[in-house]
Amino acid sequence: MPWNLDSSRPIYTQLVERIQLDILAGKYQPGARLPSVRDLASEAGVNPNTMQKALAELERENLVHSARTSGRFITEDTAMIEKMREELATAQIREFFEKMQQMGFSSQKTIVLIEKMMKEGKA
């Protein structure tokens, strides 16, 4: 099953985001070997050249490094992964608070609501 991609946005950025997320979420462990470009392209249902470009971008961000003949590996820098994960979470939370604000919930009110839901076992 190909990845769910939006054809109206550059595919390459979406591949970068998706693999980034897979790394941060631990689908690929630190130090693990990434599948080959062709396998990844086939899994995603995209052009291998586009996948190649996305992996090059991840290399530029130091999330991935390539070892000459044996392929590409996930960074072993767990501190960096942790930091990026936190950044991603922060961005999500900020977006959530903004949406709640639009609905008229202040940050305090939102937190009260979250706590109430947690107590009731709904979150």
Partner: protein, 232 residues
Amino acid sequence: MKTILECKNLSKRYGRTQALSGINLSLKSGRIIGLLGPNGSGKTTLIKLINGLLTPTEGEILIDGTAPGVRSKSIVSYLPERTYLDESMRIAEAIDYFGDFYRDFDRNKALKMLKKVNLDPSLRIKTLSKGNKEKVQLILVMSRRAKLYCLDEPIAGVDPAARDYILSTIINNYEPDATILLSTHLISDVENILDEVVFIQNGHIRMQEEVETIRDKEGKSVDDLFREVFKC
């Protein structure tokens, strides 16, 4: 990257019908290129010219620097719109046939691919479903180590699962320095595997562009752009 296909002022007329009018087109190696256009726009005519099944009325066509002929046929792998295989043949016989014809045919690769889709080589082609026939033909064509693959409507008329199989087979089996020219009007199904598109209309090239550039500049999918350009 070097040029694998070059059309210079290429025209084709059938009697009074102008199928292609003065096309100039240059395609590079190592790319997957969509040849997109409405019915009757000239897609199949162009592909037949590339394969030497038709001769140009005017202009010329060069494949890896030479006109269509024995040499070009040895480096172009062609999937026609309709099958040319004798359907009373068994799959294994079709494999022998390809092995005899083409020096670049990799028999083991073909057998492996058949096994993967659970197709028994002793089956006769005429007994296969439409989707399976299409798979067998694609396996034969993709088992050649060609420099240019011309696939004329490879996914027309097959179910979505067979489509996914066909597209992943294309991704997995072409040589990285080869080019695939794929004609279709099912754009949304193929656009994510393309590097580049060529829009053709009434025998003219309307546009030749990188697909990522289209998404980036227009903020549209190739499918949306196609609908806009070819609005009836």
